[in-house]
């Protein structure tokens, strides 16, 4: 009563269904780890783990979200294993204060920061993103950079859609502010009034 797919078919099916997302996994791993060597390790672990549990993947469902979930767990396990701090500033009041200030600015007309954003260099965005606390970086990577829906991101992050929504908007504000700071530091725009 139990059958299984022959090994060769399983790996071929995995390559066709899952490994087409390898680039997306690698990009996200880069953003999470902020380190190329570590990103490669995380992606490799993710793929091998995904392959081992591929029989549990339901072919009708979203493979990319499933892979991102495994990627995230792999990454978090490594971080925990290394005793590194996780979700730095997630609940931190310092970040909340920063968010408040950032949102204060979000209101008015186009500021020099916003004008700068129009012409921001990719490297700057990358740098600002790397500085963002993980809790805010994750939804931005998934939704803004990889184009997942809120529901998919919630599935990956294991949290309610409302949490994705609030972290995303807070994260974007933080990111804009960081880019604005960068612009001022480098003299692209003047000090805020």
């Amino acid at each position: 009563m139990i059958g299984w797919r022959p090994g060769r078919d399983r790996s071929r099916e995995f390559e066709e269904v899952a490994l087409v997302h390898l680039d997306a996994l690698y990009r996200s791993a880069l953003r999470l780890t902020r380190n190329r060597a570590e990103a490669e390790d995380v992606v490799q672990d993710t793929c091998l783990r995904a392959f081992r549990s591929f029989h549990r993947f339901n072919p009708g469902t979203n493979c990319r979200a499933w892979l991102f979930t495994i990627l995230r767990n792999t990454f978090l396990n490594r971080v925990r294993g290394a005793g590194r701090e996780l979700y730095e500033g997630d609940a931190g009041s310092a970040w909340d204060a920063l968010v408040e200030r950032a949102s204060d600015r979000a209101g008015g007309g186009a500021t020099p920061e916003e004008q700068f954003l129009e012409t921001a260099l990719h490297g700057d965005v990358d740098r600002a993103l790397r500085a963002l606390p993980l809790a805010f970086r994750e939804p931005i990577v998934l939704v803004d950079l990889e184009g997942l829906s809120y529901r998919e991101a919630a599935e990956v992050l294991g949290c309610p859609v409302g949490t994705v929504m609030s972290r995303l908007s807070r994260g974007r504000r933080l990111l804009r502010r960081a880019l604005g700071d960068f612009a001022r530091e480098h003299g692209y725009v003047g000090e805020p009034e």
């Binding site: 060769r8 995995f14 490799q44 029989h55």
Partner: protein, 260 residues
């Protein structure tokens, strides 16, 4: 919709994540309110900036390494099909482990009695007296309830979920009974007292260097062995290979605990 409610839902609005009626309401407000319209435009521009980030690709060397590893482990899995059970196989497993002290010679084979127990428990509304998917909690429960030190193996890689445990009554003695399930079909595994050589009747099978006795009874397959004055018996509808793999893991688990 006013400015506050608009700004509260501006991000999902920009992301196209609002429902139809909210989207219409937000569209309407944005059309009427220059301030919210400009905030939205800037948010869209920012998102565009994020989306236009260069899209790196995985290094070819990484891809090659992963494909090689997967093909290799795929060949290994073909040799160990138990690890490659497809989700489609709607097989539920009820795994019962009964641990008994040495006792008097049984009137009939202990495995036969354990098969009966398995069938009886499977018909209960709650086969598990103590419901938990936590192996450590199940082990602690046995120790506390009956003073039994029981190894609770992890079968989750094969999609077999730990359901819970029960103190069973086998031949008037207290026994430990662990339940697992896979889908909806039930499978039982038993461990019983080594009361005599006649306990285990069936075909002798060697699997990964260990000897087991297998037989089919009332439509259930059983795999059993004796160890340290205890008989371990697995009863299920799964095939022999699956049962033997479960047995092997249980032995592994016990060996690991003994070493600790």
């Amino acid at each position: 919709m006013n400015c506050d409610t608009f700004l509260a839902c501006m991000h999902p609005y920009v992301d196209g994540e609002l429902g139809v009626s909210d989207t219409v309401a937000a569209d309407t407000h944005a059309a009427e309110c220059p301030r919210c319209r400009s905030v939205t435009a800037r948010e869209r521009a920012f998102r565009q900036l994020l989306r236009s980030q260069p899209r790196e690709t995985a290094p070819p060397e990484l891809r090659r390494r992963i494909v090689t590893r997967i093909r290799r482990s795929s060949r290994a899995a073909a040799l160990r099909p138990w690890l490659a059970l497809p989700a489609a196989a709607a097989v539920a497993a009820l795994l019962a482990v009964t641990l008994l002290p040495l006792t008097e010679r049984p009137a009939r084979g202990v495995v036969a009695e354990l098969v009966d127990k398995h069938i009886a428990f499977a018909q209960l509304e709650r086969p598990a007296e103590f419901v938990s998917a936590d192996r450590r909690a199940v082990g602690a429960w046995f120790l506390e309830r009956a003073g039994l030190s029981v190894s609770v193996p992890d079968y989750s890689p094969a999609g077999i979920r730990l359901v819970g445990a029960r103190i069973a009554d086998v031949r008037g003695r207290r026994a430990a009974y662990i339940l697992y399930e896979k889908g909806r079909t039930l499978l039982s595994v038993f461990v019983a007292p080594a009361s005599g050589e006649g306990d285990l009747v069936g075909a002798r099978v060697t699997y990964r260097g260990q000897v087991y006795v297998t037989r089919v009874q009332k439509g259930y397959r059983t795999v059993a062995w004796t160890e340290g004055g205890v008989v371990f018996g697995l009863v299920s509808m799964l095939d022999d290979e699956a049962l033997l793999e479960c047995a092997d893991r249980l032995r592994d688990e016990r060996a690991r605990q003994t070493r600790l």
